[in-house]
Amino acid sequence: MSKANFKTLHLRGLCKRFGECTVLENAGFELHSGEVHALLGENGAGKSTLMNLLTGVYVPDQGEIVLDGQPCSIRKPADAMAHGIGMVHQHYRLVERFSVAENLVLAADRAPELQRLPVAAKALQETAEQLGLALDPYARVADLSVAERQRAEICKVLALGAQILILDEPTAVLTDTESESLLAAIQRMANAGKGVILITHKLREVVAHSDRVTILRQGRAVASNLATESLTQADIAQLMMGDVAVSQRQPSNLQTNGPDLLVATGLSASRNDGSTAISNIGIRLRRGEIVGVAGVGGHGQPQLCEALMGLLPIDSGSIQLDGFQISQCSVSQRRSYGLRYIPADRATNALALDLPVSDNLALTKVASGSKGRFWISRKGLFQDAQNTITEHRIAGASPQGLTRLLSGGNAQKLVLARELDNDCVVAITHSPTRGLDVKSCGAVHTALRELTSRGGAVLLISEDLEEIMTLSDRILVMNTGCITGELPGTASASEIGALMIGGH
């Protein structure tokens, strides 16, 4: 694909809505040839969607993409490839059963010369050499390590003639040495005239390895095209967190006397693919306490929750609740001790959307047998549901109505009403206010505080720093599966941000 090197790429005023939800609003940035441009933002800030617009997975509702002065229309992945835009996703798009070279042949629609295996293999080898990376084009993808697969994907995209390369969190799963090697290769790409968009959470990378940075927050660009030469990590952290206006801190319910309620020590667990998700995590919760766990998403938070709940087996470590050893207990046993879980993705993990509201409300009680060992009364469930709906003011809900029809805020109210029942002792919450409006957030926070005033405790894992700072008595910071530090609840955003930076 012989194409003149591109000069500039402008993204302007891009908007994207999904139903009621506006994911991107007036977002955009610039990219020049030879530049490494970093794209920063929390999970849900819109980085993925913005890149999906650039690569043709979605079509923007408004705005334009201008390449070398010409507006271009990118409506499907093939269009993006045609314009020389290639993306290396976090989850690689390589067919595992094929070799690297076969994957290139597969993708070489517009490059007929690469459609023969030996030619493709040669192209891959040359590209890899230019970047200073090692690659065996005939190796089966299934046999390659994560780092090798990434190299394969990068070389494939470049061999296809990509002038603009988007890298999504490339160093997230690499070791230090592998990261260094990759970042050096990225620099070589830029030197050769390509444009690189680097999506990353690592502020050190932004400062050391990018030329400019754009920061997204809640679908908007809060800072665009800033030259990173003169910025420090702290500056960027400040920009990312924004002016975290901490609303009134409420008085704490922490009972400093008395034994620990939940103690986890040395917790380690792995994901399905064998990679380590969390290692050596220690957490301590006392009665009446809210402990916040800050950190950007994707660093093992879901696995921590699942390990504590019993949904994920732990490799090592122990968990004690109220003095009881629960490391080997089943989910139902842990629940019987008073452990509760409010997961991040309520549609997938907390609610059976096709079932009526009363079923979802009664779910855990029925499972534990407290509504009847063998027989349950639907009428009784309906009555209970109606009481709960009224008590918690869950709008739009009726006991027989489908759960699917509830709005986000009300669905979360349902989950909270169910989980934070009278027998709840410790609530593990993961991003409890994600996707909720201000009023619903308030309702959630009130419910959590109410639990602590009864002597319960809350583990609040969230990417919303403001939420953590408002509610927590103590703050832990999590990064790449470990706790990197502990701060008092009154710590400032920059202090917390400083602990988030660490790592590779």
Binding site: Y58, P77, A78, V95, V105, L106, A107, Q115
Partner: protein
């Protein structure tokens, strides 16, 4: 000795329709689609083949009609699954019923009417060869077409770019989509080819073997072919071996019975199925699973994100 010769010579009658259906199903499953309609495609293929041969007197036209009929039914299925994103299993069952039903419904006027179907060419010296003579040289031309198809399909799947792209759809539709391949397009193509090949298998039954159309001619061969795909581990070459094996057992048992031998024919008849279960279990355990990774997955680009 002659027993074995006769036995061998009869194997292709049973094996080849299975083989053709299996090839079609392999193509379908390689594109990620479970196709339970095989029995239906074969049925319409058999019926169309018989009717057209009866009407025109030309067996090859009959075979062509069988292929076309199967292809149309396959298109119906493929459209439901690839474009309308209907559940693959339920759609397959529906199309199977339509195929079986249509063949009985339309074919009811044409039952029990023998015709001059496809015969084996005259090859005097070769046919008399011991053991393999009948097997190799006493078969209608369609048999050799079938074997040729095995080679062609295997070559295309494993050695060409189009085969690579086709296989990618069933392995990782997201990756294929990213590479610019139209996933629904490929699945439609696979569905039509599956229907066509199964239709060809059905036509083999009526035009090349039995030279007649009767009710329920297919007699469950479509389901056996589905099992054969697993046995063959999705490779055309192994499908040929598996089909010959199934055919051998299928043709052996009645012969043994006819000889008056006291063999538990039906217990032996269980063997191919039990063997296939064993293969399925073993194959699932092996590190490099043969099954296309995205088999049965309904792919929608927007679902990815």
């Amino acid at each position: 000795m002659s027993f074995i010769s006769f036995w061998f010579a009869s194997i292709p009658v049973s094996a080849l329709p299975l083989l053709l259906a299996c090839l079609g199903l392999i193509l379908s499953e390689r594109s990620g689609v479970v196709n339970l309609g095989a029995e239906g495609y074969m049925a319409v293929g058999a019926m169309s083949g018989a009717i057209v041969t009866l009407l025109t007197g030309s067996p090859w036209l009959g075979v062509g009609a069988g292929v076309l009929a199967g292809c149309c039914l396959g298109l119906l299925f493929a459209f439901s699954v690839a474009v309308l994103k209907a559940d693959q299993i339920l759609s397959g069952l529906a199309v199977m019923a339509i195929g079986l039903g249509l063949s009985g419904f339309i074919g009811r006027h044409w039952v029990h009417q023998p015709f001059n179907g496809m015969n084996a060419p005259d090859l005097p010296g070769l046919q008399q060869l011991p053991l393999l003579g009948g097997l190799l040289f006493k078969q209608p031309l369609l048999a050799w077409v079938s074997v040729l198809l095995v080679i062609v399909i295997a070559w295309i799947l494993h050695r060409t770019r189009i085969g690579l792209r086709f296989t990618a759809v069933g392995e990782d539709p997201a990756a294929a989509d990213n590479a610019g391949i139209s996933v629904p397009g490929m699945q439609m193509l696979a569905g039509m080819l599956c229907g066509a090949l199964c239709g060809l298998g059905g036509a083999y039954l009526s035009v090349a073997s039995a030279h007649i159309w009767v009710d329920n001619m297919v007699a469950g061969r479509g389901w056996i072919a589905l099992a054969l795909v697993v046995f063959a581990r999705w490779r055309p070459g192994r499908a040929l071996i598996g089909a010959l094996l199934f055919g051998a057992v299928d043709m052996l048992l009645p012969r043994l019975q006819a000889q008056g031998l006291q063999v538990p024919v039906y217990l032996m008849g269980m063997l191919p199925y039990l063997l296939t279960i064993l293969v399925l279990v073993l194959a699932t355990r092996s590190r490099y699973r043969d099954e296309p990774a995205a088999l049965g997955v309904t792919y929608l680009r927007q679902d990815r994100h």
